[in-house]
């Protein structure tokens, strides 16, 4: 498994802590949703950063009160066909303005990096051979986007405005609204 952040392969500074293990001092940790919700107050008092691994079948709205002090939210892709966490990511970023690290964990393929990026993820646990190294190339395949998302890329709808109208082919007329 390799971690890609801001387009580069990096060392993971977070340690994932099992529910029954003590939480070590001095390191950044990721805990489960259950443990986090049970001890949110104490956990968020820590000096070191705290992250939570949130399952894709639990409403993400429950995290809203803590987002300001959470350093990281890791969302789960139990299979590469299961796209629930794309919605969770957009809700975190676009509705609640979450500004911490948003990490994709589980099964993701390089063919999904761009979708993930556009949904607001900025770090990726990559398990498939060669995919981490292919990150930058895979996310630069397209430069036309049709949907507005929180990443702020201009949509084709917008970019067309203000351009001179296309020539109308001979023998036809354009639609008049």
């Amino acid at each position: 498994m390799q971690l890609v952040k801001s387009g580069r392969i990096v060392e993971d500074r977070y340690v994932r802590i099992a529910d029954d293990a003590p939480i070590p001092d001095g390191v950044a940790v990721i805990v489960s949703d259950a443990r986090f919700l049970a001890n949110a107050g104490a956990l968020l008092q820590r000096v070191e950063p705290v992250g939570v691994l949130w399952p894709n079948n639990r409403p993400i709205e429950a995290l809203a009160p803590y987002l300001g002090r959470l350093a990281l939210v890791a969302l789960a892709f139990p299979g590469f066909r299961d796209g629930r966490a794309y919605s969770q990511a957009r809700i975190l970023r676009e509705r609640y303005g979450f500004g911490g690290e948003l990490r994709a964990t589980g099964q993701v393929l390089r063919d999904q990096f761009l979708f993930l990026l556009r949904a607001g993820f900025d770090s990726f646990e990559v398990s498939k051979e060669g995919d981490a190294a292919a990150f930058v190339g895979s996310t630069r395949r397209f430069d036309v986007f049709y949907q507005p998302t929180g990443d702020g890329r201009a949509t084709a709808f917008r970019r067309r405005l203000g351009r001179p109208p296309q020539a109308v082919p001979a023998g036809t007329r354009a639609h008049a609204l």
Binding site: P59, F80, R81, D82, G83, R84, Y86, S87, Q88, R90, E94, R95, L109, D111, Q112, L114, F115, L116, L117, R118, A119, K128, E129, G130, R141, F142, D143, V144, F145, Y146, Q147, P148, T149, T155, A156, F157, R158, R159, R160, L161, P165, Q166, V168, P169, G171, T172, R173, A174, H175, A176, L177
Partner: protein, 552 residues
């Protein structure tokens, strides 16, 4: 026609490059079949019984002659000389090699065609009325909105891995030719009491194993809110649609389990948070999309020119075709011509490369270079001058494209069935072929009148058997092909599902049973004008049941 610009064109080319890379990784073994499968499906590539199938989108069913010629080229160069027009405004090629897929797609990209999202658990090709822009009964051209939705849903970063496929249809006419009630989202353009045009939104319609008619959750949605509202529906579905059972994963099950009211309330809640986001459609954006649609510079012509009346009197065969396959156009002096892809004894919806080329030439000569694809697996020349109909008819005849059976009993919709499809229980196409033989006599067929037969080879219902006036569904019993027959389904604005006639019958008996049903109808109808579907509605299926099963 919609004119793609460099944005649309760039995206299509970049998608081909990406897919070429994906195919390369699969062939080298870097991707497993399990991983590759979702990637190929998102680009319309299926594996059927004998070969790969490629499904190409024909957005809102509009094709230029240039695009049609490219389809002919693909049929010749990469396939076995023919293609199949589907019920969802797509075309399928059945014999394309995976190794040659990228080149095929690159050729198609040259005429702005693609296979994006023609399969997979994403928003599929948006379909609409095949007469859009020319129908006399439409509020406005629904293709503008289909195009807005096409762009919005293409490579959507949030909704490309939904619980299941997602189909949107839109209709703007009084008569619904897009079957919106059997779609995941069905949009009907309507006018509110203030005279503004907007959308009535239905959700949760669909066929398959558990068929449902869509339920209205928003009686009037303003145009500016189309995308934000669709996004809200998709977001609720993406999070709460079932993923534990493939047969319960469509939105119709979620809507059914929650109830339409509760589902609608969830959507409203979500919508409230995004209604005024960047998704709100600016009038300038709508105008920009609308302006990309061009319409023919029609000549000023009179309706019913003398040449037409003369030809009708002189030639009975021409008159039969005129009455059957030609419809009113909103422009005086013009007509909408349907080309039947259902000649006697042929697989429904198939066209050869030669026919495609011929149709392209005829479209250039008679229809401003434009062709439409409808959901009945027929083609349409949408703008033909009435005075040229006799000449056009002769040319269509020569290519086997003027069978006057549109909307009649031999205009059968059939899925590929066990002759191609790996999910099938039973064959569909040979059943359709046999039925067209039984009803080949035009006089008999026109006595019977409007009657839709729909055939599916399994419960996935690609042949829409639930909404056929007569529906035929292939099932399997002890390794043998059997067929269930339903009566009384319909897909129009009075959409309803058919009722099962009785126990399934064997392959060899299907045509006999259908003949019995039709004969019973002819005897039982109140007047010769009472359509099959109305007779079934009036008297129920019992009289038909008696007739069919008494003899067996």
């Amino acid at each position: 026609m919609y004119r793609y610009d460099d944005f649309d064109q760039t995206l299509v080319h970049q998608r081909v490059a990406e897919f070429r890379d994906q195919v390369g990784r699969r062939l080298s073994g870097a991707l497993t079949e399990d991983e590759f499968k979702i990637l190929r499906l998102m680009n319309g590539v299926y594996l059927q019984l004998h070969a790969y199938m490629l499904r190409i989108a024909i957005p809102y069913g509009t094709l230029s002659s240039e695009q049609m010629r490219m389809l002919a080229h693909v049929a010749r160069r990469y396939d076995r000389g023919y293609g199949h027009f589907t019920t969802r405004q797509n075309i399928q090629f059945n014999w394309i090699k995976l190794e040659e897929m990228p080149d095929t797609l690159a050729d198609l990209a040259g005429v702005k065609m693609h296979a994006m999202q023609t399969s997979g658990n994403c928003v599929r090709n948006i379909t609409t009325d095949q007469w859009a822009g020319v129908a006399a009964d439409e509020i406005e051209d629904p293709r503008i909105w289909a195009e807005v939705l096409r762009q919005y849903s293409t490579l959507h970063p949030e909704f490309s891995f939904l619980p299941r496929k997602f189909k949107i249809a839109i209709s703007a006419a009084a008569h619904d030719r897009a079957a919106v009630a059997v779609h995941d989202i069905g949009l009907r353009m309507v006018r509110n009491s203030a005279g503004e045009v907007g959308f009535e939104v239905q959700v949760g319609g669909g066929l398959g194993r558990t068929p449902f008619i869509g339920k209205v959750i928003k009686p009037f949605l303003p145009k500016r809110d189309l995308l934000s509202y669709v996004e809200a529906v998709l977001r609720v579905y993406n999070q709460y649609g079932r993923r534990d059972n493939i047969y319960k994963a469509r939105i119709k099950i979620l809507v059914h389990e929650l109830g339409a009211e509760k589902f609608g309330a969830e959507v409203e809640k979500e919508w409230a948070t995004i209604k005024d986001s960047a998704l709100a459609l600016d009038p300038a954006v709508i105008a920009d999309v609308a302006e990309r649609f061009t319409y023919p510079d029609y000549e000023r012509l009179e309706d019913n020119p003398p040449a037409l009346a003369r030809a009708r009197q002189e030639d009975r065969a021409f008159a039969a075709w005129l009455d059957n396959s030609v419809s009113n156009h909103k422009q005086p002096g013009y007509a909408i011509v349907t080309l039947s892809l259902k000649p006697v004894g042929a697989p429904p919806g198939d066209a050869t490369a030669e026919q495609m080329d011929a149709i392209a030439d005829l479209a250039d000569r008679y229809s401003f270079g434009e062709i439409r694809v409808g959901h009945e697996q027929n083609l349409v020349l949408p703008h033909v001058a009435q005075k040229e109909l006799p000449e056009l008819w002769q040319k269509l005849e020569a290519h086997g494209l003027a069978t006057p059976n549109v909307g009649l009993v031999s205009d059968i919709i059939a899925c590929p069935g066990l002759d191609y499809c790996s999910l099938a229980n039973a064959r569909s196409i040979p059943v359709a072929q046999e039925l067209t033989q039984r009803f080949r006599d035009h006089k008999l067929a026109s006595t019977i009148g409007r009657l839709h037969i729909n055939i599916s080879g399994c419960i996935n219902a690609c042949g829409h058997h639930h909404v056929g006036h007569i529906g035929i569904l292939g099932v399997e019993k002890n390794g043998e092909e059997f067929y269930q027959i339903t009566l009384g389904g319909r897909a129009d604005e009075d959409a309803r599902l058919g009722t099962l006639l009785g126990p399934a019958v064997r392959y060899g008996e299907v045509a006999d049973v259908v003949e019995d049903v039709v004969a019973a109808y002819v005897e039982l109808r109140k007047t010769p004008q009472e359509l099959f579907i109305d007779t079934v509605k009036r008297i129920g299926i019992e009289p038909f049941k008696e007739r069919v099963y008494a003899a067996r």
